[in-house]
Symmetry: C2
Subunit: 490 residues, 2 copies
């Protein structure tokens, strides 16, 4: 922690990159576009996984696992699906290396696969091919399955967590007897994601549906949650798709209904990924480093002893032991850092960089006065308080920090969401004060595309429960019945 990082104002993108490195979250690997998620970064992802997994199970889902590879022929069965993914997929063509006789290890051309395998970019095709064997009757439905897995999309421009060739995610794939039930499921899971984003990540999100242009390849309707980052760019934080009968038809998955009729099954899929770690970083962190919501912080409280003598250290350690026991019994994760290789100031900067929500410093004078110095990461405020009831104080403080971080992000979003009533206003807003822009749109893909080309802003979503309002499209001047949400996006 010898030096700080570039400030957000100076260079937001550079700030992000340096923060990810200095906070020990992730790094680029030797494999193009693939990242190494370092232990500290991975422990945040693990906390996300645990919370989400519980939410999925509480809504009736179970986990399963499907193959990493998808035969090329499956991949191409759903027309818009392959169109969406074909240009960025890793292809396995051989299954063996050999020594060429000169000591070089080369690909063995005798071990060429009859049919190429695609490393899954998403698993609808292999899963629906499997579901064909699982469904005969309405009694076999619904299937409510989730998978935690790695997927690969050969992105040309990558950024740690936000866009990488390989990433970790979960993908839910459900099968239903009716269209209505599938839509209900897609909407339920969107609400789970929104709940998770707001109550765990402390990131307020707009729930909405995507325009046809921005829909998942193969979906009838794509629901999404959209968050606003501190640089005013939007980030899609999760999607839930109503797939209609598209994949059931492509893979011939039928069931006999209660009425004895043979029908195609209805589908949903929904996913969030390690991208959420990127969203988390960019939503809350500051020029001193990471700011983590307590619910996802691997270490919630750190205790740093400030001592001159070994005797001081022993007494501080004794006090710390007692506090740690009390905090652990409240399920608060706490670290006591008595490393003698680093000074307190170094440790303070390190835990600030790593976003530990609460820091306690404790010296010999504190022991005499029955006090501790407590610093919260979110506001960077320090306070000297009594040791009396400290565990309860910390428990409440963590709750308060979680709420405060959310409120701050919500306030930022409110301040950076505005209406534009002309294309001039729209472009000015985008350039001067980026954020969400609520504007009328004529509903055509052509207009959407033009605006995107000219301004790099896309329609993030049509918010759910959108207010109907007569107006005219900012681009074409044609009539419009509602505003949609534009932004430049990650």
């Amino acid at each position: 922690m010898s030096k700080g990082i570039t400030s957000r104002a100076e260079d937001y993108s550079q700030w992000y990159n340096e923060l990810v490195a200095k906070a020990d979250l992730a790094e680029h690997s030797a494999v193009r576009g693939c990242m190494v998620i370092k232990p500290y970064g991975y422990s945040i992802w693990e906390k996300m996984q645990a919370a989400l997994d519980k939410m999925f199970k509480d809504t009736g889902h179970t986990n399963a696992y499907f193959p990493l590879f998808i035969p090329k022929s499956f991949f191409t069965k759903e027309a818009s699906h392959v169109e969406g993914f074909a240009t960025e997929c890793a292809v396995v063509t051989h299954y063996r290396l050999k020594n060429d006789g000169n000591g070089n290890i080369i690909v063995d051309e005798d071990a060429k696969l009859e049919e190429e395998l695609i490393v899954r970019p998403t698993s609808e095709t292999i899963i629906w091919n499997t579901y064909r064997g699982w469904v005969q009757s309405y009694r076999d439905l619904p299937i409510l399955v989730n998978q935690w897995a790695n997927v690969v999309r050969w992105e040309m421009r990558t950024r740690l967590f936000l866009r990488t060739a390989e990433f970790l995610w979960q993908e839910g794939h459900t099968a239903h007897a009716t269209s209505g039930e599938a839509i209900e499921e897609a909407e339920r899971m969107l609400e789970v994601y929104a709940d998770f984003a707001e109550n765990w990540l402390a990131v307020p999100v707009i729930r909405g549906i995507k325009t046809p242009n921005e829909r998942f390849a193969g979906a009838v309707e794509t629901y999404c949650i959209e968050a606003l980052m501190q640089d005013g760019k939007a980030l899609q934080a999760g999607t839930s798709h109503f797939l209609g009968q598209n994949f059931a038809k492509a893979f011939d998955v039928k069931f006999t209904s209660k009425e004895g009729k043979l029908e195609h099954v209805w589908a949903t899929s929904w996913g969030v990924s390690t991208r959420l770690v990127g969203a988390l970083i960019m939503s809350h962190s500051d020029d001193q480093g990471l700011v983590l919501p307590p619910k996802l912080a691997p270490i919630q409280v750190v205790i740093v002893p400030i001592h001159k003598t070994d005797d001081d250290l022993a007494r501080i350690g004794q006090f710390a032991d007692g506090l740690i026991a009390k905090l652990k019994s409240k399920n608060i994760s706490v670290k006591y850092d008595d490393r003698d290789t680093q000074r307190p100031g170094f440790k303070f900067a390190e835990y600030e960089m790593k976003g530990v929500p609460v820091r306690i410093a404790l010296g010999a004078r504190d022991l005499e006065n029955n006090t501790v110095e407590i610093a919260r990461r979110d506001t960077r405020e320090k306070q000297t308080i009594s040791q009396e009831g400290l565990d309860l104080y910390i428990e409440n403080l963590l709750t308060e920090i979680q709420q405060n971080i959310y409120n701050k992000a919500l306030e930022f979003r409110t301040q950076n969401t505005r209406e534009a009533n002309s294309y001039e206003e729209f472009k000015k807003a985008l350039d001067e004060t980026p954020g969400f822009i609520s504007a009328h749109w004529d509903g055509t893909p052509e207009t959407e595309q033009k605006i995107k080309e000219e301004t790099k802003a896309t329609i993030r979503c049509i918010p759910l429960n959108n207010k109907k309002e007569e107006g005219v499209c900012i681009y074409s001047g044609k009539p419009s019945s509602q505003r949609v949400l534009f932004a430049r996006a990650y």
Copy 2:
């Protein structure tokens, strides 16, 4: 559950395949050698993961994530490593598909990778290439990292869980300043595996080291745990490798020691996989289906109502609610199966097939008599007992079942471990009463290889803390100082 499965005596291999299918554990996928782990099978794996993950963390390890792909050049840097894995690896050569103009989706030859990527069969190479950037000084050591991941080995003959082209596993990769510390780590993790096998899977294991022939490709020493299946074949249930400085040298990972000297880092790696699900199945199950140790059973207790009237069902349901609440407070997972689409007999057979440790049947007469009928899966004994203190009874019963399953497996192993003092005896034992055979061996790879070719038996391990005993090799007649453990193996 309309019909049973082939008995073990009739055809053990067929019994296994049918059991895996009927108990809804896994199935073959459309991709050669890759399996679909179905929800019930996956939930057993999840329980294994949770227990192991806690054990890893309790011994100071953290999780991280490294790329799925390994550049071919990395893969070939450690000579014996590439030799061990090159003949069975999936190779990615392209990163795009395209439309050939005639409506066919083909591999885009313009998108050929400059360097082929290997889908990781194990991650030593990519991880040690990463560690080079993590280690400068002895202060950066040890690195105690684990990864939960999928890996691919292009096996030609596959069997669900036991041998599949893709499988799930964890791989620990640690880095140390001294040889002694690394050996200690490798031995510590072997003990973690043995503890897990015995106390969770209820599978007794022999702890040992592999002969050079059977060592991991790139290891200096391979520690292993070996279990005995009901057909008398051995199964390697986990390995822990002391890698010496082999990978540090191949990837130039050095550190400055306390004494200021530049030295290569010492390494270990250790892993267990979804293979353990196969070991679990084959160790305990019977001709009626799966037998699960309570600690890994996704459902520990099932309650089946036996009723004639709706009124009966309502009263049984009320009783079940109370019992479920009590069991849940003891962290016992319980399912109440009041499906009206199936008869009790069908349900009994289903839960037997799925290995649910305790089944409670409850009818109107039981309510009158204040009793329940309780059946344990392991012994298939039924008993009518009082409802008084039922939760405590069940809690104790689950502990007893866990222990009983282990004892049974241990007794089986004891009965099926014998000494052979001549090659004739050895071959006879193998054919008539397969199991572990303890025999003298001259310590040469040649003899080991000959015995393998002639009998298909391999040296499973040289047991740790092996008794020294003068003798002569059963094959060569040369002197030997200890017995080693042979078996035919999965």
